[in-house]
């Protein structure tokens, strides 16, 4: 089964969505200095956008550092974006950027904690990839 790797800051919205999925999941730590996970199997990456409407900062730094490891890029099968439509054109922009840079599909975008429908869609997508 496809693994989940996710990033979530201290506000923990994305963490709570991932917990609702009740699937095997690894967290990219948000404190700098903590070791980043190295993947050995196919996985889907879930993370929030944090650019505040701008391109700069859209992908959180720990996610960039995680993807800078070639092994983690090799196993990446898809991206799921967390965000808030209040950020207009930058809604889930970080996920769009990573999907394009790594040439993998953007599977889904959701807001904040996600709705029950988001959870259902994510199960479907995770079973499919």
């Amino acid at each position: 089964m496809t693994q989940i790797v996710y990033f979530s800051t201290k506000s923990g919205n994305t963490r709570r969505l991932v917990e609702k999925l009740q699937r095997d999941a690894k967290r990219i730590p948000f404190e700098s200095g903590e070791p980043l996970p190295v993947t050995t199997e196919p996985y889907v990456l879930i993370f929030p956008t944090y650019g505040g409407g701008e391109v700069k900062g859209a992908v959180p730094k720990p996610v960039i550092h995680f993807l800078n490891d070639e092994r983690n890029r090799r196993h990446l099968r898809g991206v799921v974006g967390a965000g808030n439509t209040n950020f207009g054109t930058a809604y889930c922009l970080g996920a769009h950027i990573v999907a394009r840079k790594c040439q993998v599909p953007l599977l889904h975008c959701f807001e904040l904690l996600g709705t029950p429908e988001d959870v259902a869609i994510l199960h479907q997508e995770l079973d499919r990839v």
């Binding site: 506000s11 550092h65 800078n68 808030n84 439509t85 054109t89 809604y91 922009l93 904690l113």
Partner: protein, 318 residues
């Protein structure tokens, strides 16, 4: 004995979110002069008298909420801030609310006559539904319960504005008042960070509370949401029935009520069948909300983002 007074040290943080949000809010700083509102004058002339009156009233209602949040809401939260940095973030929020309130007057002075505007302000003082909405919040700010103040504040930031924000998104989806809509989008972005941050500070206290206290607070939050919601529906009907938009505005209310609850860490309340806002409104709010939307080609702001991607972050190593 004199009590000791501490100077704020941004190099010693108790909560890194304070600095992160401070940095985001300060780098997002803007003033209404940045937006060429006068380009909307020809488009304003195409609105009927009723549409003009509706728009001015809606913006006056929004002005009232920003005024409350700038002069009462954020200063109230400041008093119970746990860190000097949290306090500083509220000073920024308070100031930006004043910028928001100021912006509506810039729109008015560009598009409307003094008489039309004076009429709308009088309307806002006399309208029982708008006054009730303001008072429901102010009562909670007055009572000495920090978590309840935070809940009221998140509901103002993340729910109460949206009956008003709907209208400029509607005009924008019809290619009307598009510069005004650009200004409103800046406000909408600011409100997202405000609602997020106050909700985050609320959740820290909520996590520390006893089970009984959590139960009390959660019940309070849902009761207040229902009370505000009921009033919002009537306010929405009184404004939008005439232009036939009430049903879709209500969906927008449900959608944003869910997000306000999520900012407090509670699960969404309204089911999907009641939150499916018209796609053109969602597109006006967030052109990227559709996953099939291609950020990297096309035109307008998405094109600008596409060009910027190559140079976006020095940390990328591939």
């Amino acid at each position: 004995m004199l009590s000791r007074v501490n100077a704020i040290n941004w190099n010693r943080l108790e909560d890194e979110k304070d600095l992160e949000v401070w940095n985001r809010l300060t780098s997002n700083f803007w003033l209404p002069e940045k937006i060429p509102l006068s380009n909307d004058v020809p488009s304003w002339q195409t609105l009927t008298a009723a549409e003009k009156q509706l728009t001015i009233r809606v913006f006056t209602g929004l002005t009232l909420l920003d005024t409350i949040q700038g002069s009462v809401g954020a200063p109230t939260l400041m008093k119970s801030a746990r860190t000097p940095h949290e306090e500083a973030v509220y000073t920024n929020i308070a100031f930006m609310e004043s910028v928001h309130a100021r912006s509506y007057s810039s729109i008015f002075s560009t598009l409307c006559s003094t008489r039309e505007v004076d009429d709308a302000f009088r309307w806002s003082e006399e309208n029982p539904l708008l006054q009730k909405k303001a008072n429901l919040i102010l009562e909670r700010y007055d009572a000495d319960d920090v978590m309840k103040q935070q809940i009221a504040s998140v509901f103002l930031e993340s729910f109460l504005f949206y009956s008003g924000f709907y209208l400029p998104m509607h005009w924008s989806s019809h290619a009307k008042l598009t510069n005004t809509a650009d200004l409103i989008r800046l406000i909408i972005r600011d409100e997202a960070v405000h609602g997020y941050y106050i909700g985050y500070k609320f959740q820290q206290r909520y996590q520390e509370a006893s089970a009984e206290r959590q139960e009390e607070i959660k019940a309070f939050a849902f009761d207040l949401m229902f009370e505000l919601y009921e009033n919002e529906v009537r306010y929405t009907q009184s404004l939008y029935d005439e232009v036939g938009l009430t049903e879709d505005v209500k969906k927008f209310l449900h959608y944003n009520a869910n997000k306000a609850l999520m900012n407090l860490g509670f699960e969404p309340l309204f089911p999907k069948s009641t939150t499916d806002v018209d796609a053109t409104i969602m597109a006006a709010l967030s052109p990227g909300a559709d996953e099939n939307h291609d950020f990297f080609s096309g035109s307008g702001s998405s094109y600008v983002i596409g060009k910027a991607v190559a140079t976006e972050d020095e940390d990328w190593a591939f």
